[in-house]
């Protein structure tokens, strides 16, 4: 979870102090020069909540244009910090899709605790609820900082090629095997975009790990996008002449950390559960989520999920499928 600010002065301590005091746990704050916006936003903005400093661009129309650019090209949520009260009608920003506006009086009084958290939640970048039991683990240190044996709170995702039985008949065992290998290789950078890693491969699919809170694109959204684009991905990425689909299972829990390739001795109920969920309960062309993972579903996708019964004592929800 990152908050990025395009400021008139990236060394502006008053601005960083204003935001830092209301920073949700586990969130990072970064200030960049507004002048570097065009050069940096495609690389820096995806997955972040971006504030534009009206001190650098007091014209509401132009700020709205920049914000729209962020939303459409970097697929991120944005807001405006207007400490000087330069914008007469902040509604213009909201018409353009802004998710937050920190005006003059609020900036003068200081942001109340949880203020930025609510903005992030409204954009689906943080849970809307009050601090959850696992929030203590939300200050995720990064994969590189974990030591073997650490107990770590993560989100699990089991991802696999769908309709494998049908594919076996259509393309044969050898090509299916190659396809599964290619898909696993495809998942590695895909998971990275969401701050995750490919952790364990089995014969059917891959177990991916994501930080407990979003660091980059939301992984459920990324999975949903892959299901939406399945025809394009099958044809353009995997060069298949036969329909391709995927299946995804999400769960949230705790595991003992071992680096990829050294996971033979991992003992974890949650790891067992996600493998069972992914291989036994997940359905082709859909995302299934355990009750622990439900909070990972972004608000704007929640109406596409509905209860899907119980599995090994846990309540499940599943996404609608796209029809061919």
């Amino acid at each position: 979870m990152r908050i990025l600010v395009y400021a008139a002065d990236p060394a502006d301590r008053k601005l960083s102090g204003l935001l830092a005091k209301a920073l949700p746990r586990g969130a990072e704050l970064e200030l960049l020069a507004y002048a570097s916006f065009l050069k940096t936003y495609k690389k820096k903005a995806p997955g972040a909540f971006v504030y534009l400093d009206a001190g650098a661009e007091p014209d509401a129309g132009r700020l709205a244009d920049q914000g729209a650019k962020l939303a459409s090209l970097a697929l991120c949520a944005w807001g405006v910090v207007d400490r000087g009260g330069a914008i007469a009608d902040p509604a213009i920003l909201f018409f353009a899709g802004a998710r937050d506006y920190i005006g003059k009086s609020l900036a003068r009084e200081g942001l109340p605790p949880g203020r930025l958290g609510r903005a992030l939640a409204s954009a689906g970048l943080a849970p809307a609820a009050a601090p959850s039991p696992d929030s203590a683990a939300s200050a995720f240190p990064g994969w590189g900082a974990l030591s073997p044996g650490d107990q770590v709170q993560v989100r699990f995702c089991y991802a696999a090629v769908g309709n494998q039985r049908e594919l076996l008949e259509r393309i044969g065992e050898k090509r299916l095997h190659k396809l599964k290998e290619d898909f696993a290789a495809f998942l590695e950078p895909w998971a990275k975009e969401c701050g995750g890693i490919e952790w364990i491969r089995d014969q059917s699919g891959s177990l991916l790990l994501f930080p407990p809170k979003d660091e980059g694109m939301n992984p459920v959204l990324a999975a949903f996008r892959l299901l939406l684009d399945r025809a394009l991905v099958g044809y353009e990425v995997f060069r298949l002449e036969t329909p391709l689909s995927f299946r995804f299972a999400f769960h949230s829990g705790v595991t003992m950390w071992r680096p990829p390739g050294s996971t033979g001795t991992v003992v974890s109920d949650d790891v067992n559960f996600i493998f069972h969920l992914g291989t036994k309960a997940a359905a082709d062309g859909a995302i299934v989520a355990s009750e622990e993972a439900e909070r990972s579903v972004p608000p704007f996708l929640r109406d596409l999920f509905s209860p899907a019964g119980d599995f090994e004592g846990r309540r499940l929800s599943a996404s609608k499928r796209f029809r061919d």
Binding site: A96, G97, R321
Partner: protein, 308 residues
Amino acid sequence: MRDRGPLANTMKRGLHESLNTDMLERIAREVFAEEYDLHERTGFPPSVAVPGQVAVDCIVDDAVAQGRFLHLAERLVRLDNEGFMGRAYRVTGLREVFKGIAAEGYLWDEETGHFMEDPHIRRTPSWGRLIPGEEHRFSLLRVDVVRNSQLVRTYGEAAARDAFDDLRSILARCVELRSGRIWSWEGDGALAAFLFGHSTTSAVLSGMALLHELFLYDRIYNSLGEPLKVRAAVHTGPIRYFPEVGEIAKQETVLEVMEAESRWTPPGMLSITPAVAPTLDRVILDRFRPDQAESSRLLVYEVRLGSP
């Protein structure tokens, strides 16, 4: 006309060392026209052989003057790779020519065998290589916003304009990722063109990707009070390329794709014409179905959600 002095000289040196006049003239006929006559171009009488250096200078200078330098370079690459009539030819200096062309902002595309504009440097409507007046078989993707005037009236010009701008960005991403070019954008609708590789497939996949992106856009970013719906259509046919969009817009193939979109395509859908369907691989074609009204011969695609 682009000044290609040093690069042209590099090519001339290589050609002079590699090919005789007879072979040069064969190549020139392929690059320019079957009627290309080296004697006529150089002024040498038919009874006198054109000296090699004169032939090389004439062909390369003509290629530069007529905007066919890249075409000549591509033909030489093919000659170097494949030979001619079973005989191998080595064209020296091609590496330097490649470097010079790359410095001009072009990348070699192995799949099509063409030098293409480096999209990180520029994306021009002519792909930096089309010659005005020349006819090619293009594939076109026409996109139009449904009820655009009503959107402006209901949500105000600024909000509607922002939504149209978002659409433009999304469309540009879908099209340019597949080597297409947006030829025209009228604020609420667009015409995109595809020429190289499997151009119909690229146009169709771009249209499908656009509908997918809009599905997510409506849920995540759309600040209008309703989904941003488009009609999209793909058609293919001959078009004479001109830098002026007006000259292109009145040609038959463009009129046909516009009619397919505006008259026969239901809102929220992408249609393909009977000229496009047979060119698609089955796995893509199967995603399309006949229009429910069955009032046209178009096939349509839309994002459809089913049950969990």
